[in-house]
Symmetry: C2
Subunit: 92 residues, 2 copies
């Protein structure tokens, strides 16, 4: 769960996630909503998933836009934990 993924593994996993992209050793996606109220609803859903998984993305809120950035800091890069959380987020 917490060992670093290889470049090939990351590529395959990214391929299965819509619009997530790799930036340095993190994966990121910006979600756009109707307004701030809807953006905050999303942020709170993320917060619950993150707390349950004990794995917390960086969350940047810009009115109706929410940018999530995932990385396993303790491992120094991307692990299975990041992609499991991204997959759960995509199901929201």
């Amino acid at each position: 769960m917490t060992s670093l993924l290889t470049e090939k593994q990351i590529k395959t996993k990214l391929h299965n996630l819509k619009n997530w992209k790799m930036v340095e050793n993190e994966v990121t996606k910006t979600f756009v909503f109707e307004d701030f109220v809807h953006a905050m609803g999303f942020v709170n859903s993320i917060a619950l998933l993150a707390e349950r998984a004990n794995h917390h993305p960086d969350i940047d809120i810009r009115w109706n836009k929410v940018t999530l950035t995932l990385s396993t800091h303790s491992a120094g890069g991307l692990t299975e934990k990041d992609f499991m959380l991204a997959k759960e987020i995509e199901k929201l």
Copy 2:
């Protein structure tokens, strides 16, 4: 409410706010909490104040740290609206 403040006005208002600093034409502060749960409690309080005021800070969440950045984009800089919201946030 929405006219740009002068440099002198900004200086006085910043002086009355604890640990907010000006960066370019925005004011910003990072709040540190015990953990993510407490940080999210704060974020949701901010969200309610922001929505009521129809004035929304940029909100960056990094586990237990929340950075708020205020500016009146429609005015191209800092106005009374920014400092009114900052004052409300300080009362939380």
